[in-house]
């Protein structure tokens, strides 16, 4: 309750909440693709190698988020190309890009004069530092994601479902696959504000994975995952406010615990249903 009265009075909390809600849209929509296509590891590689771009941007005095956006798209294309070309060694190569990206970031940041604490806020996120400018950028990214998914829904679905068949139907699979990875990349940048690039992968996958327990179409999954993401950011913010906990980590814990409870509950439910069917069959 303390949080809600504070929310009324403090603009920074309102911005934080707005940022969290905007990020939830991207993570719900694109996270659903990440979950059904099982590219969590790819998304992890993209998000961690973003540090390289941010480090370089820091060093040359550009906006870190701009650097993050460029780095995210570059690493998405690189990782996509690696997967399409060397499928056998995919995991090793993505692991390499993952580590090399972070190493580049650390080198550049350590050589940046006046090494700043704000780096931490990109690693672990600081939703409380979201400013109106960030909100506009996040809204813009959401718009790009929603428009792209609206026009390419069937094609993304086909590429996620069965690449070989899509290719046989004359769908330019490589194009749509790379476009999808670019969407993952911009979503990562969207989420960096909220939970930081280390924890991005959790917010990208957990809401969609929970949604997959309850709904059975990609479209419904996106809607439910978005709503869940919004709930997690709201609850996480509220919980973290009183005891002054890091908001990003709290949001992730809320999402993680919910996921485990949901997994447990749906597994129990499934067993119960199966046992009942078995009993009816015996009668």
């Amino acid at each position: 309750m303390e949080f809600f009265s504070a929310l009324m009075n403090h603009a920074f909390l309102q911005y934080a909440l707005a940022g969290g809600l905007l990020a939830s849209i991207g993570c719900g929509v694109i996270g659903s693709y990440v979950v059904v296509k099982r590219i969590g590891f790819l998304a992890g590689g993209i998000s961690h190698s973003v540090l390289g771009g941010m480090g370089i941007a820091f060093f040359f005095g550009f906006s870190p988020l701009g650097g993050a956006l460029v780095a995210a798209i570059a690493s998405a294309l690189l990782i996509g190309w690696v997967r399409l070309t060397w499928r056998e060694q995919e995991d090793t190569l993505i692991g390499t890009l993952w580590a090399v990206g972070m190493a580049i970031g650390i080198l550049f940041i350590s050589k940046t004069p006046g090494y700043s604490v704000s780096l931490m806020s990109y690693l672990f996120g600081n939703i409380l530092m979201v400013n109106p400018e960030d909100i506009w950028m996040m809204a813009g990214i959401d718009l790009v994601i929603l428009v792209t998914v609206f026009f390419c829904y069937q094609q993304f679905l086909a590429v996620s479902f069965d690449e070989e068949f899509a290719r046989l139907r004359g769908v330019p699979v490589t194009f749509f696959y790379l476009l999808l990875l670019c969407m993952v990349a911009v979503t990562v940048v969207l989420l960096i504000q909220v939970v930081g690039l280390i924890l991005v992968i959790a917010l990208l996958t957990l809401p969609a994975a929970i949604a997959a327990h309850y709904v059975h179409s990609l479209g419904k999954m996106m809607v439910l995952a978005t709503l869940l993401g919004m709930a997690f950011t709201l609850v996480g913010l509220a919980l973290s406010y009183g005891p002054d906990l890091p908001a990003g980590a709290t949001i992730i814990l809320v999402a993680g615990v919910t996921y485990l409870i949901s997994l447990f509950a749906t597994t129990l439910q499934k067993r119960k249903v199966m046992r009942r069917q078995l009993q009816q069959a015996m009668k």
Partner: protein
Amino acid sequence: MSAVVSLKDVTFSYSGPKVLDRVSLEVQEHEFLGLVGPNAGGKSTLLKMLLGLLKPLAGEVRVLGKRPEQSCTQVGYVPQYPLFSREFPISVEQTVLMGRLGVSGLFGGYGRRDRDVARQAMVETETIDLATRQLCTLSGGQLQRVLMARALACEPQILMLDEPTANIDMRVETEIFDLLKKLNSRMTIIVVSHDVGFISGYVGRVACLNQTLVCHPTAAIDGEAIRSLYEADVKMVEHHQH
């Protein structure tokens, strides 16, 4: 009658011994061809080559008079091992609609005609009652019919099936081949199978593939004769290798 599929001296290897060795084959329009042979004999490889998924090391492949990459949209393909996850959150109808992808433009969704064609394909394969079911709730036989519906939704001129009845019991196998027989009146069908005895009752011609290829008409021969022919061929091929 014209050849819809023609292979000339096609040779292929993945990275090692030859999988296909100077294979030549012509398939006529409205033919029902059974492609049989032992495991690792190159049956699936040959099919993938006809679809343009693999390129021959030597020789020429033409499907409907074009290169396979250009003609693949006019071919319906039923894979042996679908690449998708059975847990994918998608309904039967959505899966069948995927067959319309190449037809309805590059971007955007499906039109009314796409839905009609998909519906017709589901009626033909008797999967219309499953339309709203989730893919993960289907049995092996039901899934196979759905994959056939997806291939029919392409409105193909040639239908290619890779072991369509590998994991299915005899009764469903008969149903599926009865359906193929019916479809044969309006399209060319190439079916890969390891069970030459069973398919010889349906197909018009059998192509035996074990690196090299030998064709037999089935018209005048019963199943048992084919079986012995087939075994003799395998020996011949082994002899050829030495």
